[in-house]
Subunit: 365 residues, 2 copies
């Protein structure tokens, strides 16, 4: 193996603007007032995180500004100390633009954000790789945005919020997958918008009461989307498509795989387009990031769960920097067998995002 | 241990009426027409089960009528052949009355059903134990029904559908728990009404497309309710309350427990009424029934999941007779260690429902 191969890739780093004004040069003037007044406009969360903030205070740049708003500070504070070669950028406070009622607004914000990202962070260091933000509520506009930004050499995936009024296997979303597959880009979802904007309640029985309860239950939306993608035959229709489930955990996968496979035996006449067991589509097409990693009292249980999932290529390390529930790469996954650790910390992201060489010149601060 | 101790208890048997006319003697005349026209009235499911029916054809009584509509035939066809001492009856096609818009209708149907159940099945054999059906959308009426039927010696729990517009930890439901705890009755939920009647969509991202996809994802509603019950402090407020999650699987529990416990470390200032880790409330108060049991390719994985759950007293065998996805007690759980199997097949239900002796005279057909 080449000495120049990356040893750690962080697949979920939340780059932030320094303020709303950052987007104005990229936004049509007609939208300036709305952007400055409402921002991404998809509404509040469940009364915050309690005693502490969503973002780590120590992630504020020494030169001022919000946490993770300075590319150079993020290298000094996060990437360099942990030996992280690449950070996959996932944005901050803007992912939910798919949940604004006005699709034109969502579309222009996504477009402006992508231009800003390319002009700032992606130029600041080759360590940064971008995610093309789309508005999934307007799939045709999302396709146009993938066409526009897909050729950018530092954009490595498409990203959209997991909050949605419709399950992602459904046909309205297929043009997005067709475009992503054609550009060789994975489609990633990120949580945190469940029950916000014009998404429905975040559980089948309405709204949780507090942030704690809401945060506990977010992965059920991931289970719903993964189930939908498989059942609707998305991976038969788009056999090269990879789907990345960021920040949703993974210990729920064995249960879902087993239940889907069991039901498939009795009910597969309803999904005649499936050619193998549901769990095989999951293993072949779904990747998941580690943070917030499940932490059983007995660390051996985590290894057992990974064995049940049975796909060593499916999990990728993420820190969720600069959020409060950050997973330190020196602590996470210590009990996992060495070869799987290496896959999780580097190899799986190397393969998915095509990052087989360490970043070149300009990578240091 | 006494020779007279039950060796197998089936905690989910769907007794059926022979037809709608069965309920008329118990229903106020003003509701006869509506009942005959609309039945339980909570709407259809996701285009059925495909090629086969929801109920097993061989469960139709030899004397005619719908599957599981003849108490004596159910003994001959199901209980006797497998050596099942007791069947906990959970009803059929009527559980969702909480999801009819008109609460008066839901209340009278629940009341009539309970009277019919007591007059027929519970008199047919001491092997049958009943669940008091309530309309959870009208908690005060539900409390009255628990008061009315709670003293019946063969009613062993309260049952309500898991489909709901609100999460079961929320305060509107607390009078139900207070009444159930006072009568020493567990509160059980049963799935199958997710997304039906006036419940919200069965996922955070809308409706699944087909029955297969819908059935795969039902347990997310269970996860949501368990999370809500714990976070809202229901088990601090009602320390003797037991909550039974019927037919929702259990392999999702380790994930939920770990996620709740991890978040509790950072966010417990939001739930100051909790005095121990969320997983401890789950182990102390939640019981789950086995069917549809998860069936991993490697049977050892099921034992690992049970070890992760860590509560040998939490799981109870159920067959779901006469439904299509029935779990045969001779096949299910074969790989599980002997002592735990005995707890699952008998001891846990003996303890929960107070059934320490085999049924007495009249138990044979």
């Amino acid at each position: 193996m080449s000495d120049n191969r990356p040893t750690m890739i962080d697949t979920d780093v939340h780059n932030s603007m320094t303020g709303k004004q950052d987007l104005l040069p990229y936004l049509p003037k007609a939208y300036h007032q709305a952007w400055l007044a409402y921002g991404a406009g998809y509404g509040g969360s469940y009364l915050g995180t309690g005693a502490h903030s969503v973002t780590r205070r120590d992630a504020r740049p020494d030169g001022g500004g919000p946490p993770a708003s300075d590319p150079n500070y993020v290298i000094r504070h996060h990437l360099a100390p942990y030996g992280i070669d690449y950070a996959i950028l996932t944005g901050s406070g803007i992912l939910g633009i798919s949940l604004v009622s006005d699709p034109d607004y969502g579309n222009v914000i996504a477009r402006a954000y992508n231009d800003w990202l390319a002009d700032t962070w992606l130029k600041a260091s080759p360590r940064y790789k971008g995610s093309i933000l789309i508005n999934h509520s307007d799939p045709q506009a999302a396709v146009q945005e993938i066409e526009r930004m897909g050729p950018h050499p530092d954009m490595v995936q498409v990203i959209m919020c997991s909050g949605s009024r419709n399950l992602f296997g459904q046909r309205m979303f297929h043009p997005i997958y067709e475009a992503a597959e054609r550009h060789g880009l994975p489609v990633a979802i990120h949580p945190g918008t469940e029950g916000r904007g014009n998404a429905g309640p975040p559980t089948p029985s309405g709204h949780p009461t507090r942030y704690f309860e809401w945060h506990n239950i977010i992965p059920i939306n991931y289970m719903s989307h993964v189930n939908s993608l498989v059942c609707e035959g998305v991976f038969e229709k788009f056999p090269e498509l990879k789907f990345v489930a960021i920040e949703g955990g993974f210990a729920w996968l064995p249960h879902l795989m087993w239940r889907m496979d069991k039901n498939y035996k009795g009910l597969r006449d309803q999904v005649p387009w499936l050619k193998c067991k549901p769990s095989e589509y999951i293993r072949g097409h779904i990747l998941l990031t580690t943070q917030p990693i499940e932490e059983p009292d007995d660390p051996a249980h985590l290894g057992q769960i990974l064995d049940m999932i049975g796909g060593d290529h499916m999990i990728m390390y993420s820190s969720d920097y600069p959020h409060w529930d950050f997973d330190n790469p020196k602590v996470a996954l210590r009990s996992i067998r060495r070869e799987l650790r290496q896959r999780i910390f580097a190899d799986n992201a190397i393969q998915l995002y095509g990052l087989s060489e360490k970043p070149g010149e300009g990578a240091s601060v």
